[in-house]
Structure formats: C-alpha cells, structure tokens
Amino acid sequence: MTEEIIIAGFGGQGVLSMGGILAYAGVMQGKEVTWMPSYGPEMRGGTSNVTVILSDEMISSPILNEYDTAIILNQPSLDKFEKMIKKGGTLIYDGNGINRHPEREDINIYRADAAKAAASDLKNPKVANMIVLGALLKQNPIILDENIKKGLEKALPERHHRLIPLNLKAVEKGKEIVKIIREV
C-alpha cells in the first residue's frame, strides 16, 4: 500500500515539522518513507508545503501531480491543491481563514478547526499542526498511535521532549473535533 500525502499552509504553521513527524512515525512502523519539502527563498507568512509518501514498497517519484490525501491549512493551498486530489481521495482542512470552502463532490472532505482548538482548548497555538494530524489519523489510521509517539521522540530534539505529552494530547484533540463534511 502507498499513501501519497501533501501538507500545505503558511510558513510558520508547522507544515514541514508535521510532515517530519509523520515521516519519522512511518519509519518506526517499518514503512518506506519520502519527505520532500518545497524549498525556496521563502519566509514566515509565505506558503510552504511538503509531500510525504508512506509505502510498503520502494518509493518511485518524490514529485507528484496528484495525491491520495491533502492536508490544507490556508486558502492559497486549498486553491492550489484541491484539484490535485485523486478521485475518491481525502481532503482535511482547517476552516480558520478559509473564505472559499472546498467544492469537489468526488472526494472525502473533513474539517478540523485546529487553530481555534489549539488556542482555546490547549492554550498553545503551536500545536495546531498536531491537531490536524490527529484528524487525519482518525479518518485514515495509516500510522499507529504508538509510532506517532516514537516518531515525536525521533523528530524532536531531546530538549523539547517535555512537549511530547502536549503534542499527543493535540493528536487526540484532532480525533475529537474532526467533522465530516462529505464522504463518497
């Protein structure tokens, strides 16, 4: 099985680090993994995205023109990637700052208002990315919870390990708050 995922949002929303944690968790689960960031002369507030491929086989192209799953954290990314999701694929998005909501009728759409939940429920806006990751894992449990924990231990430098419980709480929060908009 191969899962091709795009994660996209503003720089500073934790797009690359969420992808990194997912990728490390994939390694812990014995999967083949590719993590390919968009890179360029970018800055805080610019757009940022990362392709994460998890597979039971050797991974071919790190460059894709369609995805099984898109995790979208801002309007420009929704505009760009909604049309690049495979038919029957999955879109998960944070409604924060979204004016034009997803329109496709041939994909599964889920909404998790992670930025809001991070600020109000968890009192830490930085873990919004982990809430969205939780929303993904609720809908598509590609990675076991225990491997997410192991992935966090690998991806975070030791001085930040005290933040792991908060991150795991955020994952649980995401599972709780994710709403079905449409399933096909």
Binding site: A23, V33, T34, W35, P37, Y39, L64, E66
Partner: protein, 356 residues
C-alpha cells in the same frame, strides 16, 4: 546487531557518509541547495570522531585548491557545492585531473545558467561528463537516485578515485539534497594510515621526493601524459559502467533518465502500464563511463526511446550515440528549477510515439 536506519536529508546523509568513509578532510563553501553538508559537518565536529578536518574556505576557488593540495599529499578529501560554485572550481578540477589525483566532488545541481535559481536541475550534465575545465580529461561521474545511493556512492567514489587516481563526481540535484528518506549507513571506516607511494609527503625513506604537477611544458611529455590518461580512461570504461534496468524485459518503449528524473520516470512507467502501454526504464548510474552498450542492445527490442532530463537536452546526445540511428529518440525536458511530473512525462511519450 540492529540495523542503523535513519531518516535523513540527502545533504546531511552525504556529510555523515563522508565521515564514515574515513575522509581526512572536507573543504567547502556554502551555497544553496547544499549548504546542509557543511552545516552538518560543522555541527557534528568529526575532528572529535575520526580526526577529519572540516574547513570553510574563503571561496570555491580556495576550496578546490585546498583539495588539490591535500589530494597531492595522498589524503582522502572531498568538497561539495552547487552549479555556480562548481563552475568556479573548474580550473582546479582540470589541474587535479591533469596531475592524476584522487578526490570526491559533489555537485547538488541547481537551475542555470548564471547565478540561476536554487531549485533542482540537471543542466550540468555536459559540464560534468564532457569536460567543464580545459584539456582532454574525464571525471568519473556517478548519479545517485535516492538518499541511500547518495550515501553508498560517497564510499564507492573514494574507492574508485583511489583505484584510478582520478577525481570522481557525484552529480545529484536539489531534490536529492533536500528530501528526507530512510537510509542505512555502512560502518565507520578507518582513516587511511599508509601513505600512497606517489604522495608528496617528503622523502619518507624512499630516497627521492615525489612531485605532483599538471605542467608538462615539452609537447612530447604532455603528449605522453595524455596517452597515459587515455589508457586509464579506457580501463575505466571497461570496468566502471553502472546502470539499472527496470521493467525492460517486455517493454515496447524505453525511458532513459538518471537521478531524480529516473525516479519520476519509474512512476510514469507505472501509470503507462495501468493504461496498457508497456514502458521500461534504463537508468544510467555512471554518467561517465556511459552505458552505451546496454542502451544499444535495448534499442533492438523496443519501438521508441524517450529521454527525460531537467534541462533542454544534454544526455540525449549520448543516448543518440548509443542508439546509433536504429530508431527514433524522443526528448522531453524542463529546466530552470521546474521539475517534470509523472503524467507530463507519460504524455510526452504518448505524443511522440503513440498518438502520432
């Protein structure tokens, strides 16, 4: 023993591989998209692990001449850079090739010409494979297509460089440098203890001084050195051709691509087969020496050959030489940091050979 598996960026992995390959020194100057190599080395402080020296030179020109000096002393040395930086090094590379010294060079290619862009490209094929610097010399060029191969080829490159006393280049690109993949490392190799018999390390009990130069002012001597080089290159061509064939047994059409583009073509092959078009891939791993014979043989079996590159057609010239007029060779390329997608590649093949 548990396998030593890590998730690493290509650039970081190259740096770690250099330490583990028992390198004596790294000299370099940072440039995107490969600055992580020197950053990793500076943070890792290999002088404490193996005694390896890491030095940021004042420029690429200085770095390559430090490589020249240390290689002349028989040390295992490497430098890494990206396209404009590699251009600055060309004089030194020619000198190193002329003086027949081993070293490892890594070019994490970005879009050009000029200062260009920092995005991935394969536009330095001609520079790497056909010359770059002046004179009749050859670099042995290896093109990894994954983070794992980037690691394995650093070790291989040192072995080949010392076997032939010739510079070896790893030609990668911004995709391979920036992406993270699972990688298994080889064990730490010991740094070399014995001096090479040709190294300039004083008389060392030999009774004579070794002399390293690329200046042979008498034409007869220069001609002799050139003949010696050519003899060496024929040996390299005999022994060091490397390539991979994927799904070529029953293929009607053939992609030829290296590095990142080969990975994208693999996906395009899968898409093609889902549509009932049998496409295979030949991936040159050594770009010099080039797998001419393997391509020539496949040209007897397939109906068309399609070359895919991140440039406007460089390796395609070698594929045409290999095919030798047996059939038509198509080409599709993107440049300037634009990466072709799997479906775009398949469409190019269909337009060239199937929907015509």
């Amino acid at each position: 023993m548990e396998k030593d598996i890590k998730l690493m960026k290509g650039n970081d992995a190259i740096a770690e591989a250099a330490i583990r390959a028992g390198a004596d020194a790294y000299f370099g100057y940072p440039i995107t998209p490969q600055s992580e190599v020197i950053e990793y080395l500076m943070a890792e402080q290999p002088e404490k692990r193996t005694g390896m020296v890491v030095l940021q030179a004042e420029s690429e020109v200085a770095a390559i001449n430090m490589i020249y000096g240390a290689a002349g002393a028989g040390k295992r040395v490497l430098t890494t850079s990206s396209s404009p930086g590699i251009s600055l090094m060309q004089e030194g590379i020619s000198y190193i090739a002329g003086a027949q010294l081993p070293c490892v060079l890594v070019n994490v290619v970005r879009g050009g010409p000029g200062l260009g862009t920092i995005q991935p490209s394969q536009a330095d094929y001609f520079q790497s494979v056909k010359g770059g610097g002046h004179g009749d010399y050859k670099l042995i060029v290896l093109a990894p297509a994954s983070v794992q191969e980037s690691v394995d080829f650093i070790k291989l490159a040192f072995d080949i460089a010392f076997k032939y006393r010739n510079p070896v280049m790893l030609l990668t690109d911004g995709v391979l440098g920036q992406m993270m993949e699972k990688v298994e490392f080889f064990e730490q190799q010991e740094r070399k203890k014995e001096d090479e018999p040709w190294a300039t390390v004083g008389k060392a009990g030999r009774g004579h001084r070794n002399y390293i130069t690329s200046l042979f002012i008498k034409p007869e001597k220069m001609y002799e050195v050139n003949l010696e080089l050519q003899k060496k290159y024929r040996e390299v061509e005999k022994n060091e051709v490397r390539y991979q064939e994927i799904d070529t047994e029953d293929a009607d059409y053939l992609f030829v691509a290296y590095g990142t583009t080969a990975r994208i073509c693999q996906k395009a092959c899968q898409l093609a087969r889902e549509k009932g078009i049998k496409v295979g891939l030949l991936r040159p791993i050594s770009l010099y020496p080039y797998p001419y014979d393997a391509i020539n043989k496949l040209a007897d079996k397939v109906k068309g050959v399609m070359v895919i590159e991140m440039n406007h057609g460089q390796m395609v010239e070698d594929v045409k030489l290999a095919v030798n007029g047996k059939l038509e060779v198509g080409f599709m390329g993107r440049s300037g940091g634009i990466i072709p997608t799997p479906s775009e590649i398949l469409e190019a093949l269909e337009n060239k050979f199937i929907n015509k």
